[in-house]
Symmetry: C2
Subunit: 450 residues, 2 copies
Amino acid sequence: MTFEITDEFLENLSELIISNNDKEITSLFSEVHFADIAEVLDEVNFDEAIYIIKLLDSEKTSEILTELDEDIREKILENLSAKEIADEVREMDTDDAADIIGELSEERQHRVISALEDDEHAADIKELLSYNDNSAGALMAKELVKVYETWTVAGCMRRIRGQAKDVTRVHSIYVVDKEDKLVGRMSLKDLIIAKSDHKIADICKAKVDAVNVHEEEEAVAKIMAKYDLEAIPVVDDNNVLVGRITIDDILDVIREEADKDYQMAAGFSKDVEADDTIWELTKARLPWLILALFGGFISVSVLGSFDGAMKNFPELFFFTPLIAAMAGNVGVQSSAIIVQGLANDSLKGSLFKRLLKEILQGFLNGFVLATLLMSAGMLFLGFNINLGITVAASLISVIIIASIIGTFIPIILAKKGVDPALATGPFITTSNDILGILIYFSIAKLVLGF
Amino acid sequence: MTFEITDEFLENLSELIISNNDKEITSLFSEVHFADIAEVLDEVNFDEAIYIIKLLDSEKTSEILTELDEDIREKILENLSAKEIADEVREMDTDDAADIIGELSEERQHRVISALEDDEHAADIKELLSYNDNSAGALMAKELVKVYETWTVAGCMRRIRGQAKDVTRVHSIYVVDKEDKLVGRMSLKDLIIAKSDHKIADICKAKVDAVNVHEEEEAVAKIMAKYDLEAIPVVDDNNVLVGRITIDDILDVIREEADKDYQMAAGFSKDVEADDTIWELTKARLPWLILALFGGFISVSVLGSFDGAMKNFPELFFFTPLIAAMAGNVGVQSSAIIVQGLANDSLKGSLFKRLLKEILQGFLNGFVLATLLMSAGMLFLGFNINLGITVAASLISVIIIASIIGTFIPIILAKKGVDPALATGPFITTSNDILGILIYFSIAKLVLGF
């Protein structure tokens, strides 16, 4: 656990690879956890990574492959033959195997699966590949411990010894009837504590949470988090047990979901990382920036349409960035809190109450900020009273309206089946910018009359 | 699992409470999962919640209490006597018990702990309360299955039957030496598969990941996620086994962390939810808004200092919101990607390389956007060529500089030990607004000469 990748380590490794000192390299990695080796492979150059992967034994490399950064794994898999990939996959649990094979081209998928010697493993992987992305079926593994309700505890123990070898972690033992339909669940602990001549049907818990194989992975994550489950059985439409999902897979779903929301809010159109290529990053950034530019262009036109004010009230134009920025900030706050509420299912009460609440909050925030702005403006910038009133009234109106828009856009998006996190991105900022400027100058026209 | 809180359910419940129909209420909840009951209590009014809590048996209510929204739990605990709280706590695992007692005033903490009959349970809770918030010690539970290395498999099975009753989920069996120092680990599965006369020392895995009791919870979360651990033992400075942390606690840590980052990015100064009071929400929103207002005020002054341009180049002022918005958007993108890279430990390479990468990306984005802007401006707004050049050159410069600032502020914050997520909030938008406007008008002055 205290393994640290140092520059010396990497230099040493490079030298060992150049001198083909395979024995030394193998021993260097012998005590290192596969997750750490994966990090080493992320750091070294590509030829070195291939060299190491081909050198280490497949039990270790198959684990390493599942941990690798997707970009690097893709490149490594390109350099392995279908046979070599099949050797790696053989050691993997079905869910990891399906994930990795799923990244290959369809033609290579077939070749890898055909190269698998274990027909059952191959069939399981094929089944997993057949489910929709983001469904429980795509997330689950076929490895599980299954017993029939008619068995006795003693018989069960005997047979479990066989099944459990294939299952990394036995969370629950699933109990099925003779048609393989899920009827109950028990823990290894229950089995150990029970008397050996008891029937499974008598000691298992009949109430068992399960998810349908077509359920969305996010819904599965919510259920598992809510009910504190560490594994959940997956059944088909006939309630036949087909797999199980464990909490570590859900951990990834939750993290990906959080990352996605965060990136959307920050204005990325797709999932990127700091170490992606400049080209990848630019492609992810440009769409929202172009939208924002387009919005900015509208704000230019709006401002242009008020150019009559320029002669008598030039100061008005100094305040546009301030008004626009406040509208954007308030809108992002309002939408973020709704997006989070939607994600946690914690939004309660009627839409009308929410509207009222936002208006009140907007007024409260707006009032404090407008007072500050007016005092500062009159003290330091020599506002006359009319300009002060205009700016203050605009600020309050803009904040209230930005709050309302920020609140309802995500709610509407969610109702339409669109990810509401979209709303916290540049979308809200841009539309609030435009609207803010429009409101500001409309109020100014009303008060100052130009 | 298909329990849904409907209006009819709530109405029916209210009526049953009014008519004191305790039997019916108990049977209504008898088949409902405690996490669902907690949601019901979040929905009903406070008196009803108290009524239900006092009615249900303590095995169920203790689970419900741990699931409740913190605000509601606080109010409920205020309405229970120390003795009643002790009755609830008695049924809880030590970590949940310590979390709940930790929410009470110090004086009530003492009274509740004194009211606990089980001295060992009380001592365990006291120990957990003594650790720093956010440390492994505060997160761990005392419940675990521990065996001595000198035992045989058969003896071990016998004694585990006793210990396991107190442990909801046996993830691992921890093996200790005679001084209670952690020396190994094995799974229930290993034990079941092993021959009964084997010694534990011979079959357990000697290599066991553990964390120190003073480790930060975020570090524990990273370790568990990286190594795919479902539980990790916690040791003190002498390697004595003192507790264990399970993955469900880590799930909460990860979610809280993600929520916190998201809220920071959205400009909240503290953790709030959509259903908090208007006053709570306003308090969380105002600090960043005031900072943004202050920044806006500076942008007003900057614009004011260029008022000489107003006579000959009024169009320049129409573009300020656009330039400011682009600077803000680009800055947020750049900082978000760094914040995420820092959170995942995935930032590699030197600062100089990163700087170069940001400049190149900024240039690429800026060039595309400036070309779009210039073409649109000349086509639709009748730009003259000098104004076009000014706006385009400014846009490119502003984007490059905003990228650099967005990249380095979070890096600098992280180096100074401040949460870098702070940088993605209104802080970056505001500073980039100001800088953007300054650069824009400086370039305009240079090109147009006013």
